[in-house]
Symmetry: D2
Amino acid sequence: MHKVAVGILGASGYTGRELCGLVARHPGMELAFAAANGQRGQRARFGASEITFLAPDDVKLDDAQMVFSALPHGASAGWVDAARQAGARVIDLSSDFRPGNSPTAAPYGLTEIMRDTLAGAELVANPGCYPTAVLIGLAPLLARGLVRAGATINVNAASGVTGAGFAPKQELMFAEVAEDFRAYAPGNVHRHLAEMNALVRELGGDADVLFTPYLLPVARGILATITVPLATGLAHPAALWRGFYAGEPFVEVVDSPPSLRDVVHRNVVRLSVHAAANVRQPTLVIVAAIDNLLKGAAGQAVQNANLLLGLDERLGLPA
Amino acid sequence: MHKVAVGILGASGYTGRELCGLVARHPGMELAFAAANGQRGQRARFGASEITFLAPDDVKLDDAQMVFSALPHGASAGWVDAARQAGARVIDLSSDFRPGNSPTAAPYGLTEIMRDTLAGAELVANPGCYPTAVLIGLAPLLARGLVRAGATINVNAASGVTGAGFAPKQELMFAEVAEDFRAYAPGNVHRHLAEMNALVRELGGDADVLFTPYLLPVARGILATITVPLATGLAHPAALWRGFYAGEPFVEVVDSPPSLRDVVHRNVVRLSVHAAANVRQPTLVIVAAIDNLLKGAAGQAVQNANLLLGLDERLGLPA
Amino acid sequence: MHKVAVGILGASGYTGRELCGLVARHPGMELAFAAANGQRGQRARFGASEITFLAPDDVKLDDAQMVFSALPHGASAGWVDAARQAGARVIDLSSDFRPGNSPTAAPYGLTEIMRDTLAGAELVANPGCYPTAVLIGLAPLLARGLVRAGATINVNAASGVTGAGFAPKQELMFAEVAEDFRAYAPGNVHRHLAEMNALVRELGGDADVLFTPYLLPVARGILATITVPLATGLAHPAALWRGFYAGEPFVEVVDSPPSLRDVVHRNVVRLSVHAAANVRQPTLVIVAAIDNLLKGAAGQAVQNANLLLGLDERLGLPA
Amino acid sequence: MHKVAVGILGASGYTGRELCGLVARHPGMELAFAAANGQRGQRARFGASEITFLAPDDVKLDDAQMVFSALPHGASAGWVDAARQAGARVIDLSSDFRPGNSPTAAPYGLTEIMRDTLAGAELVANPGCYPTAVLIGLAPLLARGLVRAGATINVNAASGVTGAGFAPKQELMFAEVAEDFRAYAPGNVHRHLAEMNALVRELGGDADVLFTPYLLPVARGILATITVPLATGLAHPAALWRGFYAGEPFVEVVDSPPSLRDVVHRNVVRLSVHAAANVRQPTLVIVAAIDNLLKGAAGQAVQNANLLLGLDERLGLPA
């Protein structure tokens, strides 16, 4: 198989390392470079490959036909522009080109929902981890116009600590996180909120997301619970999701609530849908689980790259 | 100090053991008996005291002036009746006499809210762990009539595994719980729901609780997030809670969301209140944390016993 | 590729489930049956395959050309005999036919060391998890006669809780294991001791193993530290191991001590060797890590099955 | 009760914070100052007290009659000298004045063993965490001359991550430590070795310690296993320890191996002693557990301070 030359920017964080591993094992990709400012010169092993992280300035961007940027928000846009000028297609995993974050948002890489708009794209804004779980959960309702107009969509979502980044921080040390559980960004001010609201509206909803995130004492995974007031009751709600995602290799609709163990190290969204008993208004409770580093970041990025390259979307991805 | 003779039924589970420890260290109590059907004859150490668990049938109920029942739901009512006939005051930690669970509910031991109705009681229904966190969070709003009429109060609350009991179960083994996080009882059907709804109404609310519980990979603690649509906006919401709970030794109103580490091994509710930005309707997000075995069970039971006995409510309790 | 029909006895424990998963993904094997007395009729998914556990009595042993028995010690021997009479080759993962445990020990499946004696075997006694880590660590010294005659080989080895089995037990519940660490079987009486001592002698050593095992608050993995008094000092000890295991796909000799994260979900032994400073007698410290369910059980069993079947030893195994 | 004015240097690390908490709750001590260079100006709550960390240079050393230094090794000695010149008694928790580390070692604060030499001391070198567990375990054997001459004493000891300090480090982040277990300082080169060997000799032993430490995925606690070749066999070994430590409030001799849960948040050493079966030479296996921050650091420091001040040794300490 011809192998596409791939470059990775921001390669030494948790997402960057996950990208390195996926590319190293991908039958249709080969690594052109892996840049990581803080760890330049260090080596890391991914499967059978050993990689030396380069300084970003030492990288030749035109060595790569496809570039993944896992650089921090704010720092990514400049490198993305440079990579595009060097002729590469780019999947940007930062928020710099995402809807709700940029006036000139790029095509949004929520693959299952946006497949048609992504096919010929030169630049894709890869979704945030929380928005991926939430929007895959909501999309069937939004497509049918079933979210009650003017409603508040209540999202409570808990993430493992790899979602908080690779850099050492006091509050992420083992002795601080173990046996603890915390909410953060209370009062609906998390930086992923605008992205979720922008997509809810783009997909036809007239509703506000109220988002509370939590830090879990686990390494990987996100579990999101989405409570949605409905315009009208639904007799067999799960059937809507099963139909909407029929044939999708990376979405699993199940009867019992998914748990993190069902999804870690897999590029899937696994979700269940439950009509709420004992409330006056028809309301659904959707529980969606993903691996924040795979379907929530590096896995979906490779899925989008496969799509752009005309490859089988599943190639190189653990389902 | 004169010591009150205390008997404990259901002494060998997590809650029962916590009760044994609190009573063993309580300056105004001494242990008359600790009954535990499954572990009869076994010994356990609590501080300086060693206790031998008796079979319930070998216990003389009239040895105790105060009885705590930590028996399972359904099994408790009969023993509670027997203890009352033997002349003891009873704190029942099961749901058998709680509002929403029994047509003849006993006085409800949510101490800070119900203090007036508890003073002369012979039998107190000690609140469930989840309801304690939720109702202490909601009470100031309910007292002021600030919950929007007809609203859904969205409660997402995660508990450590000691909340699921002491008996060995496959799904509670270390290798199943570690690195996992799960919702359970989805669709608003948890057995604590009726208790919460009954109290919301008793405290003047016209609203429905929509409750989703979770199992955390930690031993102890509950973190509950309560999203409440308001009748009208509140300029400085935390001030309402600070005023309502002024002088309460076991309620802490804080600015940043509490975490489990702040409350484990303490008989407190610690909570923060946040106005939700970016939504159309005025909405509050309340985050409340407790130790499920202390303020959520054994600690509040001892607090209630202190109240019934005319002792300082704080006696023998870690704050 | 022709697929060998494989049967699994004792399929529902942690080792049995790992075997089911390996066989389901093995390019040269297909599952004939998976028997599990306690979970008969239950279904489980392994990759793309869904398996229904059968009662052992409902299994036709002659459906399988190769049988893995993950039955408990004592219960396995009878089923192994039946499978052999039905014409199957058998890998027995219990201790029933292991050296030191049985007067008629079967060929011992420590693949890298015993390859020559395994080639034509009809029955293989798959090594215990602790002995695998310890003996792979010791074999090069034993082969060269470098263990001091009459010495005590001190082994301290810690295992994740999946090593203690799948059945629910009080002391393996999350709330009992988390934040704890315990030694067990103190005083050199663990049931794997005879197996280690038998092999030490079979490989030419005149020394006694003194073994202390520990239970770790992790799901998977064993880390063993082996302290060995030497007959004579060794200038560059690691070179001996690198030479001895050159070309072995499943043994990694590294400079820094391995950790569990290096080996979980992989069928490898990873080890380091360190000359002890500051002691009078020449002494080596060997640190060896394995995944107890893979190289310590199911993975090595498949490695042995590949060998017996004349397949590439690496087939179907994660390295 | 008259309260002794206490100053704490290095107050913001894990040991320093534990000291702050112990002093805040100690009935015979009051806090004069808590200095912490990195967190100057920050506030922290310990029980009912709120403390503001001062810059060390802003502290008036003569405000304190007793100074605890929890400064890093190397940085402590100068401050200790200054505190002594200011007239304070000093407990130094660094290694700067410990035997094996300094030519002018101070009296060694292994309280139970060294009580006689500590009574009038102006400066005490508080033992390291690992040496405390190991030496309390070995002392009865050394006192009786029962360690085999020329032997190697094999020590394997695992510590929770608070033993590795408070400063953020990549390898101590939750996602790196959880589900892992690692040996470090292999080959008998840990900085606590000289301290252990110096004391073994001071207590009459002619033997070498061979020490392998490990990092556990827990917050607190040390479990040490000490394997000791004996000069002669011992019929009832535990009786020696029970006699030697009779009446000691902070040493517990038990039959089954202690575990971390038995000792965390308590200022005790809990240990068991087991004759090794199945070896040619008479050998003992001693298992000792401590809380690394209490009996292994801050707790033993307060115990020593109580002794120096003529107070009940148990005052202010959780047993």
